[in-house]
Symmetry: D2
Subunit: 135 residues, 4 copies
Protein backbone atom coordinates (compact mmCIF):
# COMPACT_ATOMS: atom_id res chain seq x y z
CA UNK A 1 0.00 0.00 0.00
CA UNK A 2 1.31 3.39 -1.04
CA UNK A 3 -0.15 6.43 0.66
CA UNK A 4 -0.22 9.92 -0.87
CA UNK A 5 -0.11 13.28 0.87
CA UNK A 6 -0.35 16.55 -1.02
CA UNK A 7 1.12 19.89 -0.07
CA UNK A 8 1.03 23.39 -1.47
CA UNK A 9 4.43 24.91 -0.84
CA UNK A 10 4.03 28.28 0.90
CA UNK A 11 6.43 31.21 1.30
CA UNK A 12 7.05 30.15 4.91
CA UNK A 13 8.09 26.65 3.81
CA UNK A 14 11.01 28.09 1.84
CA UNK A 15 14.21 29.69 3.10
CA UNK A 16 16.46 32.49 1.91
CA UNK A 17 17.65 30.32 -0.99
CA UNK A 18 14.04 30.35 -2.23
CA UNK A 19 13.59 26.60 -1.81
CA UNK A 20 12.37 24.23 0.88
CA UNK A 21 15.14 23.69 3.44
CA UNK A 22 16.09 20.19 4.61
CA UNK A 23 14.65 20.54 8.13
CA UNK A 24 11.35 21.72 6.68
CA UNK A 25 11.38 18.77 4.27
CA UNK A 26 11.67 16.47 7.30
CA UNK A 27 8.52 18.02 8.77
CA UNK A 28 6.58 17.57 5.54
CA UNK A 29 7.75 13.95 5.43
CA UNK A 30 6.85 13.39 9.09
CA UNK A 31 3.33 14.75 8.67
CA UNK A 32 2.95 12.44 5.63
CA UNK A 33 4.03 9.45 7.74
CA UNK A 34 1.41 10.39 10.35
CA UNK A 35 -1.30 10.61 7.70
CA UNK A 36 -0.22 7.21 6.41
CA UNK A 37 -0.29 5.79 9.94
CA UNK A 38 -3.72 7.27 10.53
CA UNK A 39 -5.08 5.93 7.27
CA UNK A 40 -4.17 2.34 8.16
CA UNK A 41 -5.46 2.61 11.74
CA UNK A 42 -2.01 2.54 13.31
CA UNK A 43 -2.19 5.77 15.34
CA UNK A 44 -4.99 4.53 17.60
CA UNK A 45 -3.32 1.11 18.00
CA UNK A 46 -0.12 2.81 19.20
CA UNK A 47 -2.02 5.12 21.55
CA UNK A 48 -3.86 2.18 23.19
CA UNK A 49 -0.56 0.67 24.33
CA UNK A 50 1.30 4.01 24.76
CA UNK A 51 3.82 3.02 22.10
CA UNK A 52 5.53 5.10 19.47
CA UNK A 53 7.75 4.70 16.44
CA UNK A 54 10.97 6.67 16.51
CA UNK A 55 13.51 7.20 13.75
CA UNK A 56 16.98 5.74 14.31
CA UNK A 57 18.46 6.35 10.87
CA UNK A 58 17.40 8.49 7.96
CA UNK A 59 18.70 9.23 4.52
CA UNK A 60 17.47 11.82 2.04
CA UNK A 61 18.67 12.47 -1.49
CA UNK A 62 17.53 15.81 -2.83
CA UNK A 63 17.29 15.67 -6.62
CA UNK A 64 15.70 18.99 -7.51
CA UNK A 65 14.80 21.94 -5.31
CA UNK A 66 11.18 22.63 -4.40
CA UNK A 67 9.95 26.22 -4.72
CA UNK A 68 7.16 28.37 -3.33
CA UNK A 69 3.86 27.95 -5.13
CA UNK A 70 4.57 24.40 -6.24
CA UNK A 71 2.22 21.48 -5.61
CA UNK A 72 3.98 18.37 -4.36
CA UNK A 73 2.91 14.82 -3.59
CA UNK A 74 4.61 12.66 -0.98
CA UNK A 75 4.30 8.91 -1.30
CA UNK A 76 4.82 6.86 1.84
CA UNK A 77 5.17 3.11 2.05
CA UNK A 78 6.52 0.45 4.37
CA UNK A 79 9.40 -1.39 2.68
CA UNK A 80 10.72 -3.82 5.31
CA UNK A 81 9.60 -5.12 8.67
CA UNK A 82 11.91 -6.86 11.14
CA UNK A 83 11.19 -8.15 14.63
CA UNK A 84 11.77 -4.78 16.27
CA UNK A 85 12.35 -2.36 13.41
CA UNK A 86 11.41 -1.52 9.85
CA UNK A 87 11.93 0.89 6.99
CA UNK A 88 9.63 3.46 5.42
CA UNK A 89 10.38 4.89 2.00
CA UNK A 90 9.10 8.32 1.03
CA UNK A 91 9.38 10.11 -2.28
CA UNK A 92 8.34 13.64 -3.07
CA UNK A 93 7.09 14.40 -6.58
CA UNK A 94 6.39 17.72 -8.21
CA UNK A 95 2.87 17.42 -9.57
CA UNK A 96 3.34 19.60 -12.63
CA UNK A 97 6.47 17.95 -13.86
CA UNK A 98 6.07 14.37 -12.64
CA UNK A 99 9.61 14.72 -11.39
CA UNK A 100 11.02 13.22 -8.22
CA UNK A 101 12.19 16.04 -5.94
CA UNK A 102 13.60 13.78 -3.22
CA UNK A 103 13.93 10.17 -2.17
CA UNK A 104 14.18 9.17 1.46
CA UNK A 105 14.42 6.13 3.68
CA UNK A 106 13.57 6.11 7.39
CA UNK A 107 14.61 3.27 9.64
CA UNK A 108 12.36 3.09 12.70
CA UNK A 109 12.03 1.13 15.94
CA UNK A 110 9.05 0.73 18.23
CA UNK A 111 9.39 2.09 21.76
CA UNK A 112 7.42 2.08 24.96
CA UNK A 113 6.79 5.78 25.51
CA UNK A 114 7.07 5.54 29.31
CA UNK A 115 10.39 3.72 29.51
CA UNK A 116 11.77 4.82 26.15
CA UNK A 117 12.89 1.21 25.59
CA UNK A 118 12.76 -0.46 22.23
CA UNK A 119 10.23 -3.32 22.14
CA UNK A 120 9.29 -6.06 19.64
CA UNK A 121 6.74 -5.25 16.95
CA UNK A 122 4.11 -7.86 17.71
CA UNK A 123 0.38 -8.49 18.15
CA UNK A 124 -2.10 -6.34 16.31
CA UNK A 125 0.57 -3.86 15.24
CA UNK A 126 2.62 -6.54 13.46
CA UNK A 127 -0.52 -7.93 11.82
CA UNK A 128 -1.49 -4.49 10.59
CA UNK A 129 1.98 -3.65 9.25
CA UNK A 130 2.44 -7.06 7.60
CA UNK A 131 -0.71 -6.36 5.62
CA UNK A 132 0.54 -3.09 4.14
CA UNK A 133 4.17 -3.83 3.25
CA UNK A 134 5.00 -2.75 -0.27
CA UNK A 135 7.95 -4.80 -1.49
CA UNK B 1 18.43 43.60 34.87
CA UNK B 2 18.47 43.52 31.09
CA UNK B 3 19.93 40.45 29.42
CA UNK B 4 21.38 40.42 25.91
CA UNK B 5 21.48 37.57 23.41
CA UNK B 6 23.19 37.90 20.05
CA UNK B 7 22.33 36.09 16.85
CA UNK B 8 23.76 35.94 13.35
CA UNK B 9 20.84 35.60 10.99
CA UNK B 10 21.39 32.63 8.66
CA UNK B 11 19.81 31.70 5.35
CA UNK B 12 17.70 29.08 7.11
CA UNK B 13 16.30 31.69 9.51
CA UNK B 14 14.72 33.58 6.62
CA UNK B 15 11.79 32.62 4.42
CA UNK B 16 10.88 33.12 0.78
CA UNK B 17 10.30 36.84 1.42
CA UNK B 18 14.00 37.04 2.33
CA UNK B 19 13.33 38.04 5.92
CA UNK B 20 12.91 36.30 9.26
CA UNK B 21 9.36 34.92 9.51
CA UNK B 22 7.22 35.49 12.61
CA UNK B 23 7.35 31.88 13.86
CA UNK B 24 11.15 31.89 13.56
CA UNK B 25 11.24 35.20 15.46
CA UNK B 26 9.34 33.50 18.28
CA UNK B 27 12.03 30.81 18.46
CA UNK B 28 14.83 33.37 18.60
CA UNK B 29 12.94 35.20 21.36
CA UNK B 30 12.28 31.95 23.25
CA UNK B 31 15.95 30.93 23.19
CA UNK B 32 16.82 34.43 24.47
CA UNK B 33 14.36 34.01 27.36
CA UNK B 34 16.01 30.69 28.23
CA UNK B 35 19.47 32.27 28.22
CA UNK B 36 18.12 35.04 30.46
CA UNK B 37 16.56 32.46 32.81
CA UNK B 38 19.80 30.50 32.88
CA UNK B 39 21.87 33.60 33.61
CA UNK B 40 19.84 34.44 36.72
CA UNK B 41 19.79 30.84 37.99
CA UNK B 42 16.11 30.32 37.28
CA UNK B 43 16.34 27.21 35.11
CA UNK B 44 17.76 25.00 37.87
CA UNK B 45 15.27 26.40 40.43
CA UNK B 46 12.38 25.46 38.13
CA UNK B 47 13.81 21.99 37.45
CA UNK B 48 14.15 21.25 41.20
CA UNK B 49 10.40 21.63 41.70
CA UNK B 50 9.39 20.40 38.21
CA UNK B 51 7.83 23.77 37.40
CA UNK B 52 7.77 25.69 34.15
CA UNK B 53 6.74 29.08 32.83
CA UNK B 54 4.29 29.03 29.95
CA UNK B 55 3.11 31.89 27.75
CA UNK B 56 -0.57 32.82 27.97
CA UNK B 57 -0.53 36.00 25.88
CA UNK B 58 2.00 37.47 23.51
CA UNK B 59 2.24 40.54 21.36
CA UNK B 60 4.85 41.41 18.78
CA UNK B 61 5.20 44.57 16.72
CA UNK B 62 7.53 44.17 13.77
CA UNK B 63 9.07 47.52 12.86
CA UNK B 64 11.63 46.61 10.23
CA UNK B 65 12.37 43.27 8.58
CA UNK B 66 15.49 41.31 9.54
CA UNK B 67 17.58 39.88 6.70
CA UNK B 68 20.11 37.10 6.19
CA UNK B 69 23.63 38.07 7.21
CA UNK B 70 22.53 40.63 9.79
CA UNK B 71 23.70 40.63 13.39
CA UNK B 72 20.92 41.19 15.89
CA UNK B 73 20.75 41.65 19.64
CA UNK B 74 17.74 40.61 21.71
CA UNK B 75 17.22 42.31 25.05
CA UNK B 76 15.13 40.45 27.61
CA UNK B 77 13.81 41.83 30.88
CA UNK B 78 11.12 41.15 33.43
CA UNK B 79 8.69 44.08 33.54
CA UNK B 80 5.96 43.03 35.98
CA UNK B 81 5.44 40.28 38.54
CA UNK B 82 2.06 39.36 40.00
CA UNK B 83 1.14 36.61 42.42
CA UNK B 84 0.87 33.96 39.72
CA UNK B 85 1.97 35.69 36.51
CA UNK B 86 4.28 38.28 35.06
CA UNK B 87 5.42 39.99 31.87
CA UNK B 88 8.68 39.79 29.97
CA UNK B 89 9.59 42.45 27.43
CA UNK B 90 11.91 41.63 24.56
CA UNK B 91 13.29 43.93 21.90
CA UNK B 92 15.37 42.97 18.90
CA UNK B 93 17.94 45.48 17.64
CA UNK B 94 19.96 45.45 14.47
CA UNK B 95 23.53 45.93 15.58
CA UNK B 96 24.74 47.89 12.61
CA UNK B 97 21.95 50.38 12.57
CA UNK B 98 21.02 50.64 16.24
CA UNK B 99 17.45 50.25 15.03
CA UNK B 100 14.69 48.37 16.80
CA UNK B 101 13.51 45.52 14.56
CA UNK B 102 10.72 44.35 16.85
CA UNK B 103 9.17 44.93 20.25
CA UNK B 104 7.40 42.16 22.12
CA UNK B 105 5.63 41.45 25.38
CA UNK B 106 5.07 37.97 26.80
CA UNK B 107 2.63 37.35 29.61
CA UNK B 108 3.52 34.16 31.49
CA UNK B 109 2.19 31.98 34.28
CA UNK B 110 3.96 29.40 36.40
CA UNK B 111 2.73 25.82 36.12
CA UNK B 112 3.34 22.50 37.77
CA UNK B 113 4.60 20.38 34.89
CA UNK B 114 2.93 17.19 36.14
CA UNK B 115 -0.57 18.54 36.62
CA UNK B 116 -0.35 21.42 34.16
CA UNK B 117 -2.03 23.61 36.78
CA UNK B 118 -1.11 27.24 37.32
CA UNK B 119 0.50 27.82 40.73
CA UNK B 120 1.57 30.88 42.75
CA UNK B 121 5.03 32.32 42.15
CA UNK B 122 6.49 32.03 45.63
CA UNK B 123 9.53 30.98 47.65
CA UNK B 124 12.96 31.15 46.08
CA UNK B 125 11.54 31.75 42.63
CA UNK B 126 9.68 34.89 43.73
CA UNK B 127 12.76 36.12 45.60
CA UNK B 128 14.91 35.61 42.52
CA UNK B 129 12.47 37.34 40.14
CA UNK B 130 11.80 40.25 42.50
CA UNK B 131 15.51 40.97 42.43
CA UNK B 132 15.73 41.28 38.65
CA UNK B 133 12.59 43.25 37.75
CA UNK B 134 13.38 46.16 35.46
CA UNK B 135 10.64 48.76 35.87
CA UNK C 1 -16.67 34.86 5.12
CA UNK C 2 -15.13 32.60 7.74
CA UNK C 3 -12.74 29.92 6.54
CA UNK C 4 -12.02 26.71 8.45
CA UNK C 5 -8.83 24.66 8.50
CA UNK C 6 -8.56 21.40 10.41
CA UNK C 7 -5.47 19.87 11.96
CA UNK C 8 -4.64 16.66 13.78
CA UNK C 9 -2.08 17.53 16.41
CA UNK C 10 0.93 15.19 16.09
CA UNK C 11 3.70 14.33 18.51
CA UNK C 12 6.07 16.57 16.56
CA UNK C 13 3.72 19.56 16.95
CA UNK C 14 4.12 19.44 20.72
CA UNK C 15 7.11 20.31 22.87
CA UNK C 16 8.59 18.99 26.10
CA UNK C 17 5.65 20.47 28.04
CA UNK C 18 3.41 18.11 26.07
CA UNK C 19 1.53 20.92 24.37
CA UNK C 20 1.79 22.90 21.16
CA UNK C 21 4.44 25.61 21.56
CA UNK C 22 3.77 29.21 20.54
CA UNK C 23 6.07 29.20 17.50
CA UNK C 24 4.39 26.04 16.22
CA UNK C 25 0.99 27.65 16.77
CA UNK C 26 2.12 30.51 14.52
CA UNK C 27 2.91 28.02 11.77
CA UNK C 28 -0.48 26.34 12.06
CA UNK C 29 -2.13 29.78 11.92
CA UNK C 30 0.01 30.83 8.95
CA UNK C 31 -0.89 27.72 6.95
CA UNK C 32 -4.56 28.40 7.75
CA UNK C 33 -4.22 31.96 6.42
CA UNK C 34 -2.71 30.58 3.21
CA UNK C 35 -5.59 28.12 2.80
CA UNK C 36 -8.01 30.99 3.36
CA UNK C 37 -6.16 33.13 0.80
CA UNK C 38 -6.17 30.28 -1.68
CA UNK C 39 -9.88 29.61 -1.18
CA UNK C 40 -10.82 33.19 -2.11
CA UNK C 41 -8.46 33.33 -5.10
CA UNK C 42 -6.02 35.73 -3.45
CA UNK C 43 -2.82 33.71 -3.83
CA UNK C 44 -2.83 33.83 -7.63
CA UNK C 45 -3.78 37.53 -7.66
CA UNK C 46 -0.76 38.32 -5.44
CA UNK C 47 1.56 36.16 -7.55
CA UNK C 48 0.52 37.95 -10.78
CA UNK C 49 1.78 41.28 -9.43
CA UNK C 50 4.60 39.82 -7.29
CA UNK C 51 2.99 41.16 -4.13
CA UNK C 52 2.78 39.67 -0.66
CA UNK C 53 1.10 40.31 2.65
CA UNK C 54 3.42 40.54 5.63
CA UNK C 55 2.59 40.70 9.32
CA UNK C 56 3.50 43.91 11.15
CA UNK C 57 1.79 43.22 14.47
CA UNK C 58 0.37 40.09 16.03
CA UNK C 59 -1.33 39.20 19.25
CA UNK C 60 -2.22 35.77 20.58
CA UNK C 61 -4.08 34.84 23.74
CA UNK C 62 -3.70 31.22 24.68
CA UNK C 63 -6.70 30.05 26.69
CA UNK C 64 -6.14 26.32 27.00
CA UNK C 65 -3.21 24.18 25.94
CA UNK C 66 -3.49 21.92 22.88
CA UNK C 67 -2.24 18.36 23.23
CA UNK C 68 -1.03 15.56 20.96
CA UNK C 69 -3.86 13.55 19.43
CA UNK C 70 -6.37 16.38 19.54
CA UNK C 71 -8.34 17.57 16.52
CA UNK C 72 -8.47 21.33 16.18
CA UNK C 73 -10.22 23.75 13.86
CA UNK C 74 -8.80 27.16 12.95
CA UNK C 75 -11.21 29.84 11.79
CA UNK C 76 -9.77 32.65 9.72
CA UNK C 77 -11.52 35.86 8.73
CA UNK C 78 -10.72 39.37 7.58
CA UNK C 79 -11.94 41.88 10.17
CA UNK C 80 -10.79 45.27 8.89
CA UNK C 81 -9.39 46.69 5.67
CA UNK C 82 -7.63 50.04 5.43
CA UNK C 83 -5.98 51.70 2.46
CA UNK C 84 -2.70 49.85 2.93
CA UNK C 85 -3.31 47.43 5.77
CA UNK C 86 -5.88 45.19 7.42
CA UNK C 87 -6.52 42.75 10.23
CA UNK C 88 -7.15 39.02 10.19
CA UNK C 89 -8.67 37.29 13.20
CA UNK C 90 -7.99 33.61 13.83
CA UNK C 91 -9.40 31.37 16.53
CA UNK C 92 -8.44 27.81 17.27
CA UNK C 93 -11.14 25.48 18.63
CA UNK C 94 -10.82 22.03 20.06
CA UNK C 95 -13.31 19.93 18.15
CA UNK C 96 -14.25 17.59 20.95
CA UNK C 97 -14.90 20.22 23.53
CA UNK C 98 -16.11 23.15 21.45
CA UNK C 99 -13.67 25.19 23.47
CA UNK C 100 -11.57 28.08 22.19
CA UNK C 101 -7.88 27.19 22.57
CA UNK C 102 -6.55 30.54 21.35
CA UNK C 103 -7.61 33.85 19.89
CA UNK C 104 -5.32 35.85 17.64
CA UNK C 105 -5.22 39.04 15.60
CA UNK C 106 -2.76 39.68 12.78
CA UNK C 107 -2.23 43.16 11.39
CA UNK C 108 -0.86 42.97 7.84
CA UNK C 109 0.39 45.28 5.11
CA UNK C 110 0.78 44.65 1.39
CA UNK C 111 4.28 44.82 -0.02
CA UNK C 112 5.96 44.71 -3.37
CA UNK C 113 8.20 41.64 -3.07
CA UNK C 114 11.01 43.12 -5.17
CA UNK C 115 11.39 46.43 -3.35
CA UNK C 116 9.97 45.31 0.01
CA UNK C 117 7.99 48.59 0.09
CA UNK C 118 4.49 48.81 1.47
CA UNK C 119 1.94 49.65 -1.23
CA UNK C 120 -1.79 50.51 -1.30
CA UNK C 121 -4.31 47.68 -1.39
CA UNK C 122 -6.13 48.53 -4.61
CA UNK C 123 -7.55 47.12 -7.85
CA UNK C 124 -8.67 43.53 -7.97
CA UNK C 125 -7.12 42.73 -4.61
CA UNK C 126 -9.17 45.41 -2.82
CA UNK C 127 -12.29 44.30 -4.62
CA UNK C 128 -11.72 40.72 -3.60
CA UNK C 129 -10.99 41.54 0.06
CA UNK C 130 -13.90 43.96 0.36
CA UNK C 131 -16.19 41.12 -0.64
CA UNK C 132 -15.04 38.79 2.15
CA UNK C 133 -14.77 41.09 5.18
CA UNK C 134 -16.54 39.64 8.20
CA UNK C 135 -17.47 42.52 10.51
CA UNK D 1 40.17 21.26 11.51
CA UNK D 2 37.29 20.20 13.72
CA UNK D 3 34.90 22.91 14.88
CA UNK D 4 32.78 22.66 18.03
CA UNK D 5 29.39 24.19 18.72
CA UNK D 6 27.67 23.85 22.08
CA UNK D 7 23.96 23.83 22.79
CA UNK D 8 21.78 23.70 25.87
CA UNK D 9 18.74 21.64 24.97
CA UNK D 10 15.58 23.58 25.87
CA UNK D 11 11.99 22.45 26.36
CA UNK D 12 11.09 23.88 22.95
CA UNK D 13 13.81 21.79 21.26
CA UNK D 14 12.08 18.59 22.34
CA UNK D 15 8.82 17.08 21.15
CA UNK D 16 6.01 15.10 22.75
CA UNK D 17 8.32 12.07 23.04
CA UNK D 18 10.47 14.20 25.36
CA UNK D 19 13.48 14.13 23.03
CA UNK D 20 14.87 16.26 20.23
CA UNK D 21 13.00 15.48 17.01
CA UNK D 22 14.85 14.80 13.75
CA UNK D 23 13.86 18.06 12.04
CA UNK D 24 15.04 20.03 15.06
CA UNK D 25 18.31 18.08 15.01
CA UNK D 26 18.80 19.20 11.42
CA UNK D 27 18.47 22.83 12.51
CA UNK D 28 21.01 22.40 15.30
CA UNK D 29 23.38 20.77 12.80
CA UNK D 30 22.78 23.51 10.23
CA UNK D 31 23.53 26.30 12.73
CA UNK D 32 26.73 24.42 13.66
CA UNK D 33 27.76 24.28 9.99
CA UNK D 34 27.21 28.04 9.72
CA UNK D 35 29.36 28.67 12.80
CA UNK D 36 32.04 26.44 11.29
CA UNK D 37 31.82 28.32 7.97
CA UNK D 38 32.01 31.65 9.77
CA UNK D 39 35.00 30.56 11.84
CA UNK D 40 37.06 29.74 8.74
CA UNK D 41 36.03 32.91 6.87
CA UNK D 42 33.84 31.09 4.37
CA UNK D 43 30.59 32.99 4.90
CA UNK D 44 31.98 36.32 3.67
CA UNK D 45 33.74 34.63 0.73
CA UNK D 46 30.43 33.10 -0.39
CA UNK D 47 28.55 36.38 0.06
CA UNK D 48 31.10 38.28 -2.10
CA UNK D 49 30.29 36.08 -5.10
CA UNK D 50 26.62 35.46 -4.19
CA UNK D 51 27.27 31.74 -3.87
CA UNK D 52 25.86 29.20 -1.46
CA UNK D 53 26.33 25.61 -0.42
CA UNK D 54 23.25 23.44 -0.58
CA UNK D 55 22.72 19.91 0.68
CA UNK D 56 22.03 17.24 -1.95
CA UNK D 57 22.22 14.15 0.28
CA UNK D 58 22.17 13.66 4.00
CA UNK D 59 22.34 10.76 6.36
CA UNK D 60 21.83 10.74 10.11
CA UNK D 61 22.16 7.82 12.53
CA UNK D 62 20.58 8.52 15.89
CA UNK D 63 22.29 6.47 18.58
CA UNK D 64 20.76 7.78 21.78
CA UNK D 65 17.98 10.31 22.30
CA UNK D 66 18.77 13.83 23.50
CA UNK D 67 16.64 15.24 26.31
CA UNK D 68 15.69 18.66 27.69
CA UNK D 69 18.28 20.13 30.02
CA UNK D 70 21.21 18.29 28.43
CA UNK D 71 24.36 20.00 27.20
CA UNK D 72 25.51 18.79 23.81
CA UNK D 73 28.51 19.46 21.61
CA UNK D 74 28.39 19.27 17.82
CA UNK D 75 31.63 18.67 15.96
CA UNK D 76 31.76 19.74 12.33
CA UNK D 77 34.47 18.92 9.84
CA UNK D 78 35.04 18.75 6.11
CA UNK D 79 35.82 15.16 5.09
CA UNK D 80 36.07 15.22 1.29
CA UNK D 81 36.29 17.85 -1.41
CA UNK D 82 35.62 17.17 -5.10
CA UNK D 83 35.58 19.54 -8.03
CA UNK D 84 32.00 20.65 -7.44
CA UNK D 85 30.96 18.95 -4.23
CA UNK D 86 32.15 17.75 -0.85
CA UNK D 87 31.12 16.08 2.39
CA UNK D 88 30.79 17.44 5.91
CA UNK D 89 30.67 15.09 8.88
CA UNK D 90 28.93 16.14 12.08
CA UNK D 91 28.68 14.29 15.35
CA UNK D 92 26.69 15.27 18.40
CA UNK D 93 28.06 14.34 21.81
CA UNK D 94 26.40 14.51 25.20
CA UNK D 95 28.83 16.44 27.38
CA UNK D 96 28.09 14.67 30.63
CA UNK D 97 28.42 11.19 29.30
CA UNK D 98 30.96 11.57 26.50
CA UNK D 99 28.53 9.56 24.43
CA UNK D 100 27.80 10.05 20.75
CA UNK D 101 24.13 10.96 20.31
CA UNK D 102 24.17 11.05 16.52
CA UNK D 103 26.47 10.77 13.53
CA UNK D 104 25.70 12.52 10.26
CA UNK D 105 27.11 13.10 6.81
CA UNK D 106 26.06 15.94 4.52
CA UNK D 107 26.94 15.93 0.86
CA UNK D 108 26.92 19.48 -0.54
CA UNK D 109 27.34 21.30 -3.84
CA UNK D 110 28.15 24.92 -4.53
CA UNK D 111 25.53 26.96 -6.35
CA UNK D 112 25.19 30.38 -7.85
CA UNK D 113 22.33 31.86 -5.84
CA UNK D 114 20.90 33.81 -8.77
CA UNK D 115 20.70 30.99 -11.28
CA UNK D 116 20.53 28.12 -8.81
CA UNK D 117 23.06 26.28 -10.97
CA UNK D 118 25.79 24.12 -9.51
CA UNK D 119 29.25 25.57 -10.14
CA UNK D 120 32.85 24.37 -9.61
CA UNK D 121 34.46 24.95 -6.23
CA UNK D 122 37.46 27.02 -7.27
CA UNK D 123 39.53 30.11 -6.48
CA UNK D 124 39.72 31.38 -2.93
CA UNK D 125 36.94 29.08 -1.77
CA UNK D 126 38.80 25.95 -2.90
CA UNK D 127 42.01 27.22 -1.31
CA UNK D 128 40.24 27.87 1.95
CA UNK D 129 38.47 24.48 2.04
CA UNK D 130 41.59 22.54 1.03
CA UNK D 131 43.31 23.99 4.08
CA UNK D 132 40.73 22.72 6.55
CA UNK D 133 39.96 19.19 5.32
CA UNK D 134 40.11 16.66 8.13
CA UNK D 135 40.83 13.27 6.62
Amino acid sequence: MIHETNYSIRTFHTDGFGHVNNSRHLELLEEARWQYAESIGLVSKLAERNLGFIIVDLRIRFRIPVFEGEQVKVTTCLKTLGSASGEVEQLMYKNDESKVALKSLFHFVLIDRDSGDSIPIDGGIRELLTGVIEL
